[in-house]
């Protein structure tokens, strides 16, 4: 919901860049087009007017000469001029009007023109006779008592201008589209370093601590790259230092612990020669050292996982069914119940699966009375192992926390057990490193039900 609202308030950067580009391109081309159209129109119309005028004058002179020579009747003159000028022609000779077209009469001419020409001045005007725009040029011929008019249609010119206008509109639209496209491309280019940064951040969060950004070769972006890499260095140093510390502590505990355990073993072997109180003390000591030893081993294992020194070693094909069955036998667990058909020959990290299941079995032995159901299934993407017990289970509210380190349950048995508190944390870490997922659910019996889901990489046959 939040994401969608953010979108409507602030469209993504790329869309904004594209829209900005489109609008800018549109405005620029519309402005250029409008100016060019205006100039072209003024020029074409002016040109047309001048041409019509000069032709009308020269044709008028010809009419005057013909009439003065008296060799031709006025209607013959009109026809001759119609043929020569390529326009419609009107001639007033005395009070008579002669026209080259039936559809054209003196009544069609604007009165301002006929009045001006009647007054002895040449006149030119555009008018609309209901049949398109026309241009009329009137030339008085006082020497022969006549007036000569040429009427030409401007439809052609208008058509030309309209084609030009449409071309410019289409060109503007195309430019705007190209602008939007360019905006998208540029936006993507602009965002590429950002996406690389975000990819790198995701990789680091996924545990690839030595991931860094390559130099961009762009002085604007270099600070981003540098500060990101600097941050990554700092994080890596810190995480590695902490992991090393945990590992070093466990490591240093190892030698004294070995001595302690061995010495106690020697003493313990002679506990029957001791007074009962001493024997009890040795027994307590022995149990605690045992617990301590397991704790250090678990700590070592988990700190190694944290430090990322253990890479997933899934380079062997493993029969998962046989593996699960074997581990169950070792721990005195039930037979494997198949929930789907195989094949079970899969490319998985055998030792990790073994560690995961061993911890789940130990967990069930410690907090319930051992594993009561062991299921195995798979589909195209994953294989899953189900481990159930019939113990008290874990409340739904606590199930996520059950995988936390040193989390202890709420029941007395959970609180007083001699577990290390790291077993389920180890399970979750190993499963995560294999790219899988482990869930804790409630079994039908009320006990705990662990589902370990692992991505399937079919064995190469």
């Amino acid at each position: 919901v939040i994401v969608r609202r953010a979108w409507t308030l602030h469209p993504p950067l790329r869309a904004r860049v594209a829209v900005t580009f489109a609008v800018l391109c549109l405005v620029a081309t519309v402005a250029v087009s409008a100016v060019s159209f205006g100039l072209a129109r003024t020029y074409a119309v002016g040109q047309r007017d001048r041409l019509a005028t000069s032709e009308a004058f020269s044709n008028a002179r010809l009419v005057r000469d013909l009439l003065r020579a008296g060799g031709s009747a006025p209607d013959e003159v009109v026809d001759a001029m119609r043929a020569a000028a390529g326009t419609q022609v009107l001639l007033r000779y005395g009070d008579e009007w002669y026209t080259s077209a039936v559809s054209l009469s003196d009544a069609d001419l604007p009165t301002s023109v006929t009045a001006a020409v009647g007054g002895g001045a040449a006149a030119r005007q555009r008018f609309d006779n209901g049949n398109g725009t026309h241009l009329v040029v009137g030339v008085p011929l006082p020497s022969v008592g006549a007036a000569y008019y040429e009427v030409s249609s401007l439809a052609e010119l208008r058509r030309t201008l309209s084609v030009l206008g449409w071309s410019l509109i289409v060109a503007s639209a195309v430019t705007a589209l190209v602008g939007a496209g360019a905006g998208l491309v540029i936006g993507r280019r602009l965002l590429r370093p950002l996406r690389r940064t975000s990819d790198a951040a995701v990789d680091i969060a996924d545990g690839e601590l030595d991931r860094r950004l390559d130099a961009e070769g762009d002085s604007d972006l270099e600070p981003l790259v540098q500060s990101f890499n600097h941050m990554a260095d700092a994080i890596q140093t810190r995480i590695e230092r902490e992991a090393r510390f945990a590992s070093d502590v466990s490591h240093e505990l190892r030698t004294p612990l070995t001595t302690l355990a061995t010495a106690i073993e020697v003493v313990n072997a002679r506990s029957d020669e001791m007074p009962p109180r001493a024997a009890t003390a040795v027994e307590l000591l022995s149990a605690q050292v045992d617990q301590f030893e397991r704790l250090v081993l678990d700590l070592l294992e988990i700190s190694r996982l944290d430090a990322g020194v253990d890479r997933v070693a899934a380079d062997d094909d493993v029969d998962l069914l046989a593996l699960v069955g074997r581990i169950s036998r070792v721990h005195g667990g039930p037979a494997v119940s198949l929930q789907t058909a195989g094949p079970w020959m899969l490319r998985i990290d055998e030792r990790r699966v073994e560690r995961v299941l061993a911890n789940l079995f130990e967990n069930a032995e410690r907090y319930a009375d051992g594993v009561t159901f062991l299921g195995l299934g798979r589909d195209a993407e994953s294989a899953w192992i189900i481990v159930e017990d019939e113990g008290p289970g874990i409340d739904a509210a606590d199930r996520d926390r059950a995988f936390d380190r040193f989390w202890r349950g709420t029941t007395a048995r959970q609180r007083t057990s001699n577990g290390t508190g790291l077993g389920l944390a180890l399970v979750s870490e190993h499963v995560r490193l294999m790219g899988g997922e482990v869930r804790l659910e409630g079994a039908a019996s009320g006990g705990a039900r662990f589902v370990v889901e692992l991505p399937v990489d079919e064995a190469v046959q």
Binding site: H251, R254, T255, P256, L257, T258, T259, A261, T262, A263, E265, V266, A269, E293, V296, L297, L300, E301, R304, V309, D310, D316, D317, V318, D319, A322, R326, I327, V330, M345, E350, R351, A459
Partner: protein
């Protein structure tokens, strides 16, 4: 005469408690604080088994194992610090027969030593000579020849080969081999078998990279191919 164990371990406390533990088990113990001393002691004293910590000052444990292995078939157990690192495989590749991780459970350590010693004292296999192409095994004499040339195998490698050879074409799982060759009666690490198979191949295969005799059966284990 009691079985004698040589301990090469730099930490005096660990050494002292190991001595206590092993003497409880009625072993005779000699100890060395570093690799040089250990090798020198090995030259002058008759011992039945060597326990070497891989992390040693001076020449490290790997080199000690390599040097010992160059001249002797003696059972060698390495003590590795990490449960899960290259150390264990490295130690086995140098020639050790078995390993324990630190901190070790005393009972596990003594059980492994017992298994190794029992094995090296017993005369295993009363079967007649076995022949697979140009490989010939004489279990009774402990002799292996390839193309008539004698091949020198360690005890572990020899037992591994014999076990595979006595069940030709039959797939032997890592667990089964651990049980039969190393005497494990609890789950062990399959890499122990893998490393020894690798070393064995180097000695008996014409092309160890592409084994034709001791072959891997994916996901199941190993078998010996009668050619």
């Amino acid at each position: 005469m009691a079985t004698r164990v040589l301990i090469v371990e730099d930490d005096a406390n660990v050494r002292a408690t190991l001595r206590l533990l092993l003497e409880e088990e009625r072993y005779d113990v000699v100890e060395a604080a570093d690799g040089e001393a250990g090798l020198a002691l090995f030259e002058t004293t008759l011992v039945d088994l060597v326990l070497v910590d891989l992390k040693l000052p001076g020449i490290n444990g790997f080199d000690v194992v390599r040097t010992l292995r160059a001249s002797s078939d003696i059972p060698i157990v390495v003590v590795t610090a990490q449960v899960d690192s290259y150390d264990m495989v490295g130690g086995l590749e140098a020639g050790a027969d078995d390993y324990v991780t630190k901190p070790f459970v005393p009972k596990v350590l003594t059980a492994r030593l017992r298994a190794l010693l029992r094995r090296s004292q017993a005369r295993n296999g009363d079967t007649a000579r076995l022949r697979f192409g140009d490989l010939e095994i004489a279990p009774r004499e402990g002799l292996v020849t390839v193309d008539g040339e004698p091949v020198h195998l360690t005890k572990t490698e020899f037992l591994l080969l014999c076990d595979l050879a006595q069940h030709p074409s039959q797939v032997m799982s890592r667990e089964l081999l651990l049980e039969r060759v190393w005497g494990y009666d609890y789950p062990g690490d399959g890499r122990l078998v893998d490393t020894h198979i690798r070393r064995l191949r180097l000695k008996v295969e014409a092309d160890p990279e592409h084994p034709s005799l001791v072959v891997t059966v994916r996901g199941l284990g190993y078998k010996l191919n009668p050619r």
